[in-house]
Amino acid sequence: MIGTSLTDLWNGFGVALEPHNLWWCFVGVVVGNMVGVLPGMGPLATISILLPLTFGMKPVAAILMLAGVMYGAQYGGAICSILLNLPCHPPHAVTCLDGFPMTKQGRGGVALGLTVFASFVGASWGITEMIFLSPLLVKAALQFGPAEVCSLMLLGLLAGSTLARGSPLKGVAMTLVGLFLGSVGTDLETGSERYTFGMTELDDGVELIALALGLFGIAEFMSSVNQIAPINTKYTNVGLKDLRPTKADLKKAFFPMWRGTIVGSLCALIPGTGPTIASFVAYAAEKKISKHPELFGTGLIEGVVCPEAATHSSVQGDFIPTMSLGIPGDAVMALLLGALMIQGIVPGPQLISQHPDIFWGLVASFWIGNILLVLLNVPLIGIWVKMLAIPYRFLYPSAMFFVCIGVYAANNDFFQVGEVVAIGTFGYILLRLGFHPAPILLGFVLGPRFEENFRRAMLIARGDFGVFVERPISAFFVAMCVILIGTQLYVRLRASKGASKGGAGHADASPPISPQMVQQRIPVTPAE
């Protein structure tokens, strides 16, 4: 088993090192790093903007590039949070707590240098986990019938909506909206049209790119416009030689880094807990076992490397369920899966055996991409820091153009551009009402497959719901769903009882949040 994995990995390196693929991987990580640094642009919006550009590419190159954007943005996001105290991306919000005080003490460079190092360690661990766990998962998943697939998807959807940001009930509502949007268009089995209201353009369903760009492009721009405070560039003078940590720093950072990595990789295995939760849990755990917890928040290197390592190991680990089971853990993964589907590749356990070049090429490109990112981040730190100063008023109009042309290029049709306006407006209303639209994408991507498997399972079981609990594997997933809901209820019950203890504390614990972050407030983590 391990032997074949390693040979496959070797072949994967062959795929990833082909000049064509290598080039697009490089483009992906550079773009990712760039948007990670730019305040007000997220990896979700960027991946959806780049998605139409990949239509002409081979599937391998396309997915390597889009995945590169995803993990590249994590490297860039750390720069933003450490030097500016701006958590541009939610996973890096905790990094601000100790990263920015270090910057104020003039040790921002050291924090950045060690962050890059910790990120690399975390990512490497996540990739290793992916190499050895994915084939095992696939082996199990190949035994699944429609009932199992269905209950597994249910678990994925529930976890994705309740464990993510914000109120679980609202998350479930968003997932349902996503599932509904996924059912718009021609019904696969009967061929009848649903919710098209006579518009032939909707026969193929809502366009994934229009949905993603509406929710994470236009809606985000609407909430950030004129709200982003001018950036304080007082501390952004960081050069290459500032990055070098002292021996004492290295020693202090070594164990927290590994602990963060382990926490992150564990979080990646639980569906629905993405990098944000991983980084919060890692920080809280590190603080708990520390000999001097009171010093956290004053610029401890432990408080920087631990969550960063966790973020990266969880980002890479998130690919495991996405690629081996076809069940994405969060919206970014859903988008990547959508990109694969656009390329005509059916996600699921058969992906690794049918398209080994994609899976192993992707794994190999993770290593290459991460090495590229270290190389990019260390010597070129000055350039990234300069990018922080690009004002938002130039950024979002340009992005609007990419949104329009990208949606247009998806089908060469102006109808989808109109769709993006409608979805963007709807998305902004949802944001204002305190919803987080990410689960919509999750539901949308999984929806058609969920419905298909549900119908098939019911057909096989002759309309008997009992099939979901009679088959042992399916029963296990259903039990997990019940436990998940039960825990949520229990936590809420306890929270309402002990609100006097916890209620006020949450606000103080979260780092200073930039205006655009108010929309997507960092979740109150279970670790607290």
Binding site: K170, S192, M222, Y396, M400, F401, C404, L433
Partner: protein
Amino acid sequence: MGNDKSPRHRATAETIGECGGCESEQRAKHFERERPEDGREEILRPSTSPLRDLMRKRDFYAGGLMLLLGLGIALKGATYRLGSLMHMGPGFFPTSLGILLVLIGIAIAGAAISSSDGGEREESILPANPQWWAWSCILMSPVLFIVFGRYFGMAPGTFACVFIAALGDRNATWKSTFILATVVTVFGVSLFSYFLQVPMPIFTWGGGL
């Protein structure tokens, strides 16, 4: 005494309001427990009527929106063939989604109604400083892209799209907006038209598409 406890109490109410996940039963119990102990309820709600409180609650609207949406989905879905559990028709899945959404909408709105959140915490749906001008600029931008793109081609469409979007910013000047739109047009048209071969004429007249 009452005063120094009230923020705490408010925190309790907030948590309930946001949690939504708890069943109304628990909440009812919670309040039964709270109310008889002390008469803080009166202190918290000075003169505002419950209705006015409700109008300020974001979750009330959030639940209401989900309820309406679910209702629409379910009613429209019911017009498609539902079929049986064994042989589901095209309407079955979306209709059940709609019904679930209605239930969740009721739960969200219900949580907002039953949490006695005093009027102090403003939960307006609009942000503190509404950006109507910027919002309409952003939404107009794709619309102009459609209109100009269809009738005049990619370059005018791009220019109009970027120009109007950039006008939304507070600090925008005519000159900087013009320069930005020109730069993006030149760059964008060369990228998408020449390199990526998007089939859209650069200049056209009267809608060649």
